[in-house]
Symmetry: D2
């Protein structure tokens, strides 16, 4: 299983009065990385919507190890942890070779119309995943 | 024409690395004040949606005079400037009796379905405005 | 051990294109609740700073159960989980009597000057906690 | 006078419940473009700080012409409008060849220590500007 890498730069508006990235902004970094990962897979939120599925976050966890500063250039390494009943991704944020933070998210596959959780991976997404990752 | 007053407190996440409120966060303060104003009028975004109208911001202007700090308790004074063809509001942000910032927003009345600008105030909103303000 | 309650309203800017509160905004809600909790204790971030201590978030976890919508009025129930070596708080977000989300945060006590983690609760904070909570 | 171009992508967290970019997020786009412009000039916020100067925003204006959607790839064209007593920049946001929004910001040159506005461009910044732009 390969990992997907997403690069970003810390902006001025990301930083709080302690001169480090405000912890809540890591949620944005993860989302940008996750969307880039799905773009790379070839099946994005728009594609899910087209088949009547949305992917609300049902769980997220963060461990902050070192601070990030304005102007830092970073990399998020995204790994697919689970996709069968929920979509679980693990993230590691690096600045150069220093581990800055670890995180994970879990998303449900939810039917747009009846709002029910599907508990199984939508077929077209599974197909896209398989064509890109060895699962 | 009376003015509407909205109170808020500056949170830690509002403050940037210069220890003052980041200028972009004033857009949030205005929106919260504007929604409170419409709640007071008795005709909110939900009510607009029910009659098939949305109110996108088409213009906004800010003048920043003094900084705000974490924990500051402030007041926004909202005044109705125009409502006939677009909704224009003026805002003054005060900390105690010190003027912190001035701002204005303009919103179009837009038909949800065909995305066309109406250029005239929806009747139910006008009625609600009139029952509350001397216009 | 009593719990502290903090009330807030969901604003328009909190909501995403699925018409529900974007998951990242819960981090803000928690921070506002946490600061209100510390205000209630009588020992805020400013007081920590005055004794040379900052409290970076080192861990946070969220479980999202039900969605929140624009205009919802909610309550966060904050409970002190640990304070001896790190400050750990648990949060439950309620709309009326429905549990919306559960979360927890852990903060280190860090010396501002040498950036070292203290691993023990600063005395003035402990005193303030004890005068308010039965610990 | 050349213009500086900055590219960005609209993320999911930028979009509001009307499925378009929330107006307040344009402030972030501008700041990222402005910082990239200063990076290109070779004199960034950090360099200002090193010579004891900060650049608070004292004015900003936005005109929104067309909406932006999740996933849109855009370009901001930044033009230097004034630098002698305040730093004024003009911005045009384009998606392909469609003008999406126009904006401007004004920043004061402020002495970090005494908080006084300088009303004149700091010499090292002027030098950097001149080596990059024909002014």
């Amino acid at each position: 299983m390969r990992e997907f890498r997403y690069r970003f730069r810390v902006e001025f508006y990301d930083v709080d009065s302690m001169d480090v990235v405000w912890h809540g902004n890591y949620v944005k970094f993860l989302e940008a990385a996750r969307c880039a990962f799905l773009r790379d897979v070839g099946f994005e939120y728009m594609n899910f919507r087209d088949i009547g599925v949305v992917l609300p976050i049902i769980k997220m966890e963060f461990k902050f190890i070192k601070p990030l500063f304005f102007g830092d250039e970073c990399e998020i390494r995204v790994r697919l942890n689970e996709y069968e009943t929920t979509l679980k991704l693990n993230y590691e944020i690096y600045k150069d070779n220093t581990l800055i933070a670890k995180a994970s998210t879990a998303q449900a596959y939810v039917d747009i119309d009846n709002k029910l959780t599907l508990f199984s991976v939508p077929e077209p997404f599974l197909k896209a995943l398989r064509s890109r990752y060895e699962i």
